[in-house]
């Protein structure tokens, strides 16, 4: 069975969990004897493809006549090409991107009969037009290749999935890793919302990464519950090599870590508030906020305002070995997300033997039974849990041990098998 898959990013060029999840799932499908053609807007050439057939949309020739595609504007409400909407960016990133990407994607390398689209593959100013151009290229790919099913990840590639379905008549699975409500709270971008909703309506089946996300899909997008299947994410099972780090002894205090983007969605201010509550009782703690984002300066100011900066540290954005390094130093990991469709980093923390505190407003709580779960706003409970996990060794040991057992079943090979079964079931239903 061959899958035509549409995504927006692929390791190592990723901005968050989406690329990593796409990579894991694709590898899992290969393990289950599937063939995958994975399309992204722009491949940089250094992606970790392995056996994956990675297709860069900007290498595809699109005949001129197919550019005037009526279907697109019928099925999707077509919003202006130069729309300056940037769903994934905070202000700071937006400034950088608009400086570099003032006029990018609309340039086509034209010949009389064919044209190529240029994609940045970034979340830039011209994101909307890239999304539509990507869909046009997708239709060409769907025309030129044979495959059994279409699978698209998140709204950016939904128009591509829909168009590929229209051209090929194959089944289309829409996979939701995050909704606009997760990214923006109640202040959603209406255009993005509509693309998400129309994509899911036109899909034959929807995969949600958690029950938490399924509930949003059903309640906020009015998609019938029986159309949505929950398949949780997994993690890669290679243990980080943090044994070599010497920082473990850098501090005599307990280290409590927040790792993630410092944005509204992740609830950083609740972490700062809980830190202040713990430190008011006991100075033998240090809190680390690792990451950057549009709320970073506000958090720095907040910690200073609470007069806890001597015990509250900011590392900026960390990647690769530095992430392992911070985990190696940490005693407790906290994820106070306000809305987290899944949330892979608590699993990475557990793998590094760190007990985790996660919010009830996350998908990962469905797979981690042995974690402390709190409501993101309940900073008293968060402070309590931090204290308990650091003071009662037995408790934290048990949590780590049991969580690791739970994670044994959370492998991409196993999760991809569920996806494969869904494909088979769907294909059978139309025969």
């Amino acid at each position: 069975m061959k899958v035509l898959m549409f995504g927006w990013e692929f390791p190592p060029h990723i901005s968050g969990g989406l690329g990593t999840a796409c990579y894991g799932l694709t590898k899992g499908l290969l393990q289950n004897d599937m063939e995958v053609m994975f399309v992204i807007p722009k491949a940089f050439g250094d992606e970790a493809t392995g056996n994956i057939q990675l297709i860069s949309a900007d290498s595809i020739q699109v005949p001129q006549y197919s550019l005037a595609n009526e279907f697109l504007s019928e099925k999707f409400t077509y919003y202006g090409l130069n729309s300056e909407l940037v769903p994934y960016l905070d202000n700071e990133q937006f400034r950088q991107y608009s400086a570099t990407l003032t006029k990018t994607t609309i340039q086509k390398r034209e010949s009389t009969f064919y044209s190529h689209f240029r994609f940045s593959g970034q979340y830039g100013k011209d994101l909307m037009s890239e999304v539509w151009n990507y869909a046009l290229v997708a239709s060409q790919i769907a025309q030129d290749n044979s495959f059994d099913i279409i699978h698209a990840h998140d709204w950016l590639s939904f128009p591509a999935g829909v168009l590929a379905k229209q051209i090929s008549g194959k089944l289309f699975i829409a996979h939701i890793h995050a909704t606009e409500f997760d990214r923006s709270g109640e202040h959603i971008n209406q255009h993005v919302f509509e693309i998400e909703q129309q994509g899911m309506q036109l899909a034959d089946k929807v995969i949600a990464v958690s029950e938490f996300t399924k509930a949003i899909i059903v309640n906020r997008y009015n998609i019938p519950a029986d159309k949505v299947v929950v398949i949780h994410n997994a993690t890669e099972h290679n243990k980080p090599e943090h044994a070599t780090y010497i920082d473990k002894d850098a501090f005599p205090e307990k280290i409590i870590t927040y790792l993630g983007r410092v944005t509204f969605q992740k609830g950083p201010e609740y972490f700062v508030e809980a830190a202040a509550k713990v430190l008011a009782r006991d100075k033998n703690y240090r809190f680390v906020m690792a990451g950057s984002g549009d709320m970073l300066n506000r958090m720095i100011k907040k910690a200073a305002g609470l007069r806890i900066s001597s015990h509250f540290h900011f590392t900026g954005f960390l990647k690769g070995r530095d992430v392992d390094r911070i985990f190696a130093m940490s005693d407790v990991y906290v994820m106070p997300s306000v809305s987290e469709p899944f949330g892979i980093s608590p699993l990475e923390a557990v793998r590094s033997d760190i007990p985790v505190i996660i919010s009830n407003q996350s998908g990962v709580k469905e797979v981690l039974k042995h974690a402390v779960k709190i409501d993101f706003w309940d900073t008293d409970a968060m402070a309590n849990a931090i204290y308990a996990l650091t003071r009662f060794k037995g408790l934290s040991k048990m949590f780590v041990r049991e969580s690791k057992k739970e994670m044994e079943n959370l492998k991409w090979g196993i999760q991809a098998k569920k996806v494969k079964e869904l494909y088979q079931q769907q294909l059978k239903s139309i025969q």
């Binding site: 010497i246 920082d247 002894d249 850098a250 501090f251 005599p252 680390v288 970073l296 300066n297 720095i300 100011k301 910690a303 200073a304 305002g305 007069r307 806890i308 900066s309 001597s310 540290h313 900011f314 590392t315 900026g316 530095d322 390094r325």
Partner: protein, 425 residues
């Protein structure tokens, strides 16, 4: 005769290197040698060398009628010694003319006066000793970091035996009074106050090269006219400014050196003014009235208050965290700790954390190594965290030693613990 008193501030901070969270506990090398020496060389080339030479020429040319005053921070002196000892020599040549007075200040160009009397006194003494050792004169007049003055700071300074102190002639404290008289501290009439004439000072320091200023270009003739237009009964004009005005803030190409070269001659020939140093000024003039400043006043920014260094949450948290260490530092008796403690108190670190960027942003950006006040704060706090850990470790070792000295039995119990630990591992 009326008095004209020129005082120049010379200061360089030990700027911090980029110190990441992961550096904490791993290395204790906080200061950016490369950056600090590069900046010092640049400023020496643009300002210290040419300006010192010009001052020396002027003093010789006018046969001792031209007099000037410096305050050089301890951190600047240390940087000269470290990176460019010739700068010290050129100041010493000026000192040897007998026409140059050196003022006292806090060694680290710190804000210690606002937080700790003990630390303040300690630093002033250290600075005074340094000046005496290098230039052969014991400072008699004091000037606090950034001209920060309040009644109670004056009292501390008076109790240390200083005859006079410099302060900003800010409108909001002077009200209808003129800065062009000698005043005294209300609680300690023996402490005389020399006030900066900020209009005439800033005409040189800030406006000299500003082409949109209606008075541009400023000539020495015009400046002397302004001096002459001051009412005859007003006795002194105190011109206080950063020394880096000459050649660094105002580049050579603006004509600032030509202005300075011409000015003393024009003043001596065309005006009733004579050049004096602060000590002479205090000696020559009768103080006219007490002047009270209950709240600190500085020479910085539009507000002339402390808001350039303290007041926002970043600054206050960093400042409080720093001075919370004072007792521990004193208990340490470790040379490198004492040195870092001084360098970390330098006011510039707090200046970089200032968030009021609108009217005075340009001045704050001058040689500022950071992109934002938040960066400055994080970097400083990372260093301060490592510094704290070092102190705690030293003190812990000290306590252990004391324990062993008092109770030799403790040694065997400690040994036992160590052995059981290795066995367990």
């Amino acid at each position: 005769m009326k008095n004209l008193c020129f005082y120049f501030q010379v200061h360089q901070p030990f700027r911090l290197r980029k110190y990441h969270f992961f550096d904490i506990g791993n290395h204790h090398d906080y200061f950016d040698d490369h950056e600090n020496s590069t900046i010092l060389r640049k400023v020496a080339k643009n300002c210290y060398f040419p300006a010192n030479q010009l001052m020396l020429d002027l003093i010789r040319h006018h046969g001792g009628d031209f007099k000037i005053t410096y305050s050089i921070s301890g951190t600047a002196l240390e940087q000269f010694e470290l990176y460019m000892p010739e700068v010290i020599d050129s100041f010493r040549a000026l000192a040897d003319t007998g026409c140059v007075e050196f003022l006292a200040e806090t060694y680290a160009h710190s804000l210690a006066a606002l937080k700790s009397k003990e630390e303040f006194i300690k630093q002033v003494k250290k600075h005074s000793e340094k000046i005496e050792k290098l230039f052969g004169q014991k400072p008699k007049v004091f000037r606090n970091t950034e001209l920060i003055y309040a009644d109670w700071i004056g009292e501390m300074v008076a109790s240390m035996g200083y005859k006079g102190m410099l302060a900003e002639g800010a409108d909001h404290t002077l009200d209808w009074k003129s800065p062009n008289y000698l005043y005294y501290n209300p609680g300690n009439p023996k402490l005389k106050l020399l006030l900066k004439n900020y209009r005439l000072s800033d005409d040189i320091a800030f406006r000299f090269s500003n082409q949109s200023w209606p008075e541009w270009p400023l000539t020495s003739e015009k400046y002397v006219q302004w001096l002459n237009s001051i009412p005859a009964r007003e006795e002194t004009v105190n011109l206080f400014m950063d020394y880096e005005t000459f050649g660094e803030h105002q580049w050579h190409s603006t004509g600032i050196f030509d202005f300075l070269r011409a000015l003393p001659g024009k003043v001596l020939q065309g005006s009733p003014y004579q050049f004096v140093t602060p000590s002479e000024n205090i000696h020559l003039l009768e103080a006219v009235a007490p002047l009270s400043m209950p709240l600190p006043v500085s020479w910085a920014d539009q507000e002339r208050d402390l808001s350039a260094w303290l007041g926002n949450d970043l600054q206050d948290d960093a400042f409080d965290t720093l001075y919370a260490l004072e007792n521990k530092v004193n208990a340490c008796n470790d040379k490198s700790i004492q040195r870092d403690w001084l360098y970390l108190q330098t006011s510039d670190h707090f200046y970089y954390m200032c968030t009021k960027y609108f009217s005075d942003g340009d001045v704050h950006k001058y040689f500022n190594p950071y992109n934002s006040p938040y960066d400055a704060f994080i970097n400083y706090m990372n260093v301060l965290t490592d510094f704290t850990l070092r102190i705690d470790k030293l003190l812990e070792q000290k306590v252990k030693k004391v324990k062993i000295a008092i109770n030799p039995a403790a040694v065997s119990s400690m040994k036992r613990k160590a052995i059981s630990k290795t066995v367990a591992a």
